[in-house]
């Protein structure tokens, strides 16, 4: 205990000075995967520092210790577990589909007489839906790769909002509020999109700026309340989601947001000059997707190459140490929430200026909530979030086709998504299912999280 705190005192004052070399070091790592580089530099500032001594968990504010250690575990868990988690979740989802299938029920009636019938019915029920899902999201003989373009379109806002959630995670903050941030940004962006008539190019720029300002403002409220009063960001973001929803509902019932002579709550169509150009004619894929790629790169750069990003990660890893090292924690909290809001805002902009082109009460759909699962699946790394967004985009796009073809309700996607995240969040569970760890009788699940925790706290003991 005393040793630890002493060595902490010795090393922390030196940290700001080492900030620069740390970045240089991680720049050398460029060839390795960014994920790995991020972890190394997060743990040890590129090898310049010893692993952190104070547990990750002692972060400021109400969110509680566990959140950041979990974030770190998410970041550090291995990719293999993610793949297995997806497979297990798909399998369980398939079982749920099969459980309500008439043919399966019929053959189950004579299960012991002819088990093969039952198994083949089970297999058919499970695969039928997933084949339809695949055909609706990636490739089918009739349309070629057209569904893939739709997947990319649907994934665009998911990626943007997921990045917002992931960025906040890295700073140790739970941004449950992507939904509200999307709504506010979409509202502002749509308003300037249909109410102002500006020249081509400038108009889209104004739309984007207004949307980003709206999202950043909605996010910054959370950061300010957290930094100034210690209000728990989870509670505040959940409440702000609802405030945003009702605000949008109210605005859509005012004359300013309705179509002339129409009382239904739907805005006029955005001007042509206010929308993202379509990338590939014949599809809905728009330039917003390229923006999402750029943002992913931007967040990666921010987190791994910039001083601000370093501060964010330091705050997320250990706010007490970060404060000792001269990081302004409250400023970082406000800034990271504003940035998270701005990122989520691009999701809202992509919805109104790209995919939908009008503002409705359901403009944000479930995107803000899906974004949380996207960020968790992507282990809060920018590129991980990008691919997780594509995967969930595929689920979303394919589910529509699946419902039409097989009658399987879209909700199965929610089940699969949440199972994936549950399994990923609990690596010991998935490892014990597949016996990936040396098995001590009945002790595997208990031993594993302890080990993980010790790792997460930088080998504190």
């Amino acid at each position: 205990m005393t040793e630890n705190s002493q060595s902490k005192n010795e090393q922390t004052p030196a940290q700001p000075a080492e900030d620069q070399p740390a970045e240089d070091l991680s720049a050398e790592d460029q060839s390795t995967a960014d994920l790995r580089a991020a972890d190394v530099s997060l743990d040890t500032a590129g090898g310049m520092l010893e692993p952190s001594i104070v547990p990750v968990s002692s972060q400021s504010g109400g969110s509680g210790p566990q959140s950041s250690s979990l974030v770190r575990r998410i970041v550090m868990g291995n990719g293999f577990v993610s793949v297995l988690a997806v497979i297990v979740a798909l399998f369980l989802g398939g079982l749920l589909i099969a459980s309500t299938d008439a043919q399966v029920a019929k053959t189950a009636g004579y299960l012991f007489a002819r088990p093969t019938d039952f198994l083949s019915a089970l297999w058919a029920a499970m695969t039928e839906s997933y084949v339809a899902l695949f055909q609706g999201s990636i490739f089918n003989p009739r349309q070629g790769l057209q569904p893939l373009l739709e997947t990319m379109t649907v994934a665009t806002p998911l990626i943007c909002a997921g990045l917002g959630v992931a960025l906040a995670f890295r700073a140790g903050l739970f941004n449950i509020g992507a939904q509200g941030q999307i709504i506010i940004s979409a509202t502002l962006a749509a308003y300037v999109g249909f109410a102002w008539h500006l020249p081509f190019g400038l108009h889209l720029l104004v739309v984007i700026i207004m949307g980003v300002l709206g999202g950043a403002f909605w996010g910054a409220i959370v950061g300010i309340l957290k930094a100034r009063t210690g209000a728990h960001e989870v509670i505040v973001t959940i409440m702000l989601n609802y405030v945003a929803l009702f605000l949008l509902d109210f605005l859509l019932n005012t004359a300013a947001f309705r179509r002339p002579g129409d009382s239904s709550p739907i805005s006029p169509r955005l001007d042509e000059s206010a929308t993202f150009p379509v990338l590939i004619p014949g599809s809905r894929l728009h330039v917003g997707f390229l923006v999402a790629i750029a943002l992913t790169y931007g967040v990666w750069w921010l987190l791994n190459r910039s001083t601000i990003g370093f501060e964010f990660r330091a705050v997320g890893a250990n706010p007490v140490a970060a404060r000792t090292a001269g990081v302004k924690v409250s400023r970082a909290t406000i800034l990271v929430m504003a940035m998270a809001g701005a990122l989520a805002a691009f999701g809202g902009i992509a919805q109104v200026a790209g995919t939908e082109k009008v503002l409705t009460g359901g403009v944000a759909a479930q995107i803000g909530f899906d974004a949380i699962t996207v960020a968790l699946l992507g282990r809060s790394t920018p590129w991980g979030t990008f691919f997780a967004g594509l995967l969930f985009g595929a689920f979303r796009a394919g589910a529509v086709q699946m419902q039409i073809q097989t009658g399987t309700p879209i909700d199965i996607v929610l089940v699969v998504q949440s199972l994936i995240v549950l399994f990923i969040a609990a690596p010991p569970l998935i490892k014990s299912i597949f016996r990936l760890e040396p098995k001590k009788k009945n002790k595997t699940p208990k031993a594993a999280p302890k080990a993980a925790l010790v790792n997460a706290s930088g080998g504190a003991k």
Binding site: Q66, T100, A231, M239, F250, D411, L414, L422, P445
Partner: protein, 429 residues
Amino acid sequence: MSATTTAPKPGSTALPAFRPSMKVPLSLGILALVALVFFGFLGPDQTAEMKISDAGDAVAVPALMIPGQVGGVVFGILLLAMAAYSIYLWTQGERSPKWLPIAFAVVFVFALLVWIVAGARQPSISLAGLVAGSVTLAVPLVFGSLSGVLCERVGVVNIAIEGQLLGGAFTAALVATMTGSPYIGLIAAAAAGAAVSMVLAVFSIKYLVNQIIVGVVLNVLVSGITGFLYGTLMVPNKEQFNTPGRLDILPIPLLSDIPIIGPILFEQSIAGYLMYIAVAVVWFGLFKTRWGLRVRAVGEHPQAADTLGINVNATRFWNVTLGGAIAGIGGAVFTLVTIDTFTKDISGGRGFIALAALIFGRWNPIGAFLASLLFGFAYNLQSIIGIIGTPVPSQFMAMLPYLVTIFAVAGLVGKSRPPAASGIPYVKG
């Protein structure tokens, strides 16, 4: 340095010195001024009629007639007096008593009500109907927030209230239809809520997954499963799976004829009576029994509790499970009392309002109950506003619970402090 669990929660700030915060007197003062100016001086000049008893009631009570402007001024002065008392106490270095903000809230809400009704196109409402409707809407919120209280008091954050309510609502509808008895449905709903809670407990206690993440994900999972089964089972076979019937209303003779409080207290279904019992039992259990002392110890300082021989994780597991069962009963209210069919996502975010109520009620069963009533009232007022037609858009009424909660957690309306170990998993050693 015993690993990640022992870290004290740095929290917002250090403990305040023995000088009471001036946030309470200050915010009461501002609110009182707002009431005086907007409800009083700028108030509507119509007279608000508040009917207390309906035409068919045994005891007839004349309606309250309150002139908008004069009433607003009177209420405003009353509120100012309460704020002044609070400020006086502050100058004496004393905290405002607990009843003061509650009394202030009641008068403020009444002033707001008069202002809304007097400004409406049709300045008349039935007070009895308003209050009874509010209680009906508040029942699931009360159950949900009690679940939250039980979980958070033992150190587990329960974001999954929404999922527990939804799971309870679905199971109640399904089982009540299949067995033909709403009472069995009610029990099944409790079991379903407990099952959702057990997942929360296992993942957060055994696998040490962040409780907030499990909660968020569980809400999605339950929404997905119930939505899926609703689509595949209930929509095609409504008769077979989705006609649960209702729990009978069991009026208590004579008592149920009392104006206003009669229908609230003595003319409920079994779920309504259970609500009052649950609030009382949870309050008594938490604060007056050995069990409650242990629960609170585990939630505030698990190490100390463990040292005294309390099995921290077992206590947490069973408490969270019990909380889920209570929330499950609350969910059953949707499908067995309010309406008699299940629809997709029938809980519609009520779980989060319950969460808000528990925070606003400061992690106390009675507080959570009162906050739930207030939020139920806001819900009800929102629909009444639509009917009587006022200048206040109903959406702002709908926002109120959420805004109030933000103010509450930001410490602008008193200080709400969660149990110290809430959200922190306990690893022995």
